[in-house]
């Protein structure tokens, strides 16, 4: 999702982190903290939990930077996947203990500053938002429930009162359409 130059720099930063260069980790943190923290706040709906997980994510980056393989994907994808995976794990473990408390509070946080949000209204963000708005609601809804709420396909089927096979088909169709829409809008998405 970054310009080509930033992509190259990200890869270089990860290589430097793999050599235990803490300045490189600081640079990577400064570059991605806002978007990853925004994602974690959206998943966990708690700044405190999100900060805790953000710290875990960058410690994991520090320990596992050598595992990053640029042939398999971009640093952005690797970082978002790490953050989301940790965020969903934390949410599921919290939900198992506090399901009732959390169930009614899954709206986006209101603490997000407009200034920061404005800073992230990049062209690519707009493209993603536009592409998502073009998905049929029946395809978009299961994607959102899986991505932000960490629900499995069975849980989504139960929540929406739809057959499991239908949910699987709609999720797959939604992702395929999203990929097509993004690919036609911008080459920088790399699909």
């Amino acid at each position: 999702m970054q310009p080509e130059q930033a992509q190259t720099n990200d890869v270089e930063l990860l290589k430097a982190i793999a050599r235990q260069d803490e300045t490189a980790l600081g640079q990577l943190y400064d570059r991605y903290r806002v978007i990853l923290f925004g994602l974690l706040v959206r998943i966990l709906n708690s700044r405190e939990e999100a900060e805790d997980v953000l710290q875990e994510v960058f410690l994991q980056v520090w320990r596992r930077a050598a595992d990053f393989d640029e042939n398999r994907g971009r640093p952005f994808t690797w970082l978002v996947t790490l953050a989301r995976s940790r965020g969903i794990d934390r949410f599921r473990s919290l939900a198992a203990r506090e399901r009732v408390a959390l169930a009614g509070s899954r709206e986006p946080s209101e603490e997000i500053s407009d200034a920061v949000a404005d800073a992230f209204r990049s062209e690519q963000k707009n493209l993603v938002t536009t592409a998502l708005s073009q998905l049929p609601e029946e395809q978009k809804q299961p994607l959102m429930l899986a991505y932000y709420d960490g629900l499995t396909q069975s849980e989504i089927a139960k929540k929406l009162g739809a057959p499991l096979g239908t949910v699987k088909t709609r999720m797959r169709a939604g992702l395929m359409k999203l990929r097509e829409l993004l690919a036609t809008k911008s080459a920088s998405f790399g699909f």
Partner: protein, 273 residues
């Protein structure tokens, strides 16, 4: 689903269909394990999985960014410095040495043992992760069972009330504080009442909803307090005051925890026109 049995009947195309769900971390545990095993063996599916992960990752851009506390950066740097210094104390200097054939064979044995050891550690790690997943699933199911039991108890009580002869019903509508909220009050000839609410916003920690019995010309009579669940659904049993048995209007207000003797908070529901 039996893992080995399922694995035998799954085709390559079946696995491919599961990949987008896997990229979204939305597969159920059994499917997730099956696909993970397949991905180890199938480079084509691994490549496709990587591509789907790229698509899934861009969804993060739809979220508004947020600024974490500056202390988080400091905490991360402090932690990695601690790890670095701990690692440095364990550094062993490398001294090249002449090796005989026998020592090389010994080294091969050591490498094989190390590989075996690493495989055992990996296997233990997989078992531990699966165990952790199952524990989480069990905890989730227990919570769901408890929630279902509460709902079943409520419905049983409601059914018993509805089946009583001569039960009175009153419908409460949402006021401007909660326009979509609704409630029903039922009470029998003895004054035993039940109120069932839907769509009420969650009450703040220091407040509760309170039922009121309003008879024209008299001071509102307080009923019991209650708190709806996270879905806005609530149920409470109470005793209708004798004066309110024939011509009461019912109302619900948000009051301090424990309730008030006369209404002080905003009105959320009312049976009045």
């Amino acid at each position: 689903m039996d893992f080995e049995a399922s694995k035998k009947v799954m085709s390559h195309e079946d696995y491919k269909q599961m990949i987008p769900g896997h990229a979204l971390s939305a597969l159920d545990a059994a499917e997730d394990r099956m696909l993970a095993h397949h991905l180890v063996e199938c480079s084509e599916c691994r490549k496709e999985f990587d591509q789907w992960q790229e698509t899934v990752a861009v969804l993060a851009l739809d979220v508004a960014g947020a600024e974490p506390s500056p202390q988080i950066r400091e905490r991360i740097i402090t932690q990695i410095r601690a790890e670095k210094s701990a690692g440095q104390t364990n550094v062993i200097s490398f001294v090249p040495s002449q090796r005989s054939v026998w020592s090389s064979l010994g080294s091969l044995g050591a490498i094989a043992a190390a590989v075996l050891f690493a495989a055992l550690i990996l296997y233990a790690l997989i078992l531990w992760r699966e165990n952790r997943t199952f524990r989480t699933e069990i905890a989730t199911l227990k919570t769901e069972i408890q929630t279902s039991q509460v709902q079943l108890d409520r419905k049983t009580k409601l059914l018993a009330m509805i089946e009583k002869p001569g039960v009175h019903f009153a419908e409460l509508k949402g006021m401007p504080m909660a326009p979509t909220a609704t409630a029903k009050v039922m009470y029998d000839a003895s004054g035993h009442a039940m109120i069932v609410t839907k769509g009420l916003p969650a009450a703040p920690a220091d407040k509760e909803y309170q039922l009121w019995y309003i008879v024209p010309g008299k001071k509102p009579m307080p009923g019991k307090t209650f708190s709806p669940d996270s879905h806005g659904e609530g149920m409470m049993e109470d005793q209708v005051p004798a004066e309110a048995m024939t011509s009461a209007v019912f109302a619900v207000t948000l009051e301090r925890k424990g309730g008030a003797s006369s209404p002080e908070g905003s009105m959320y529901l009312s049976s009045g026109s």
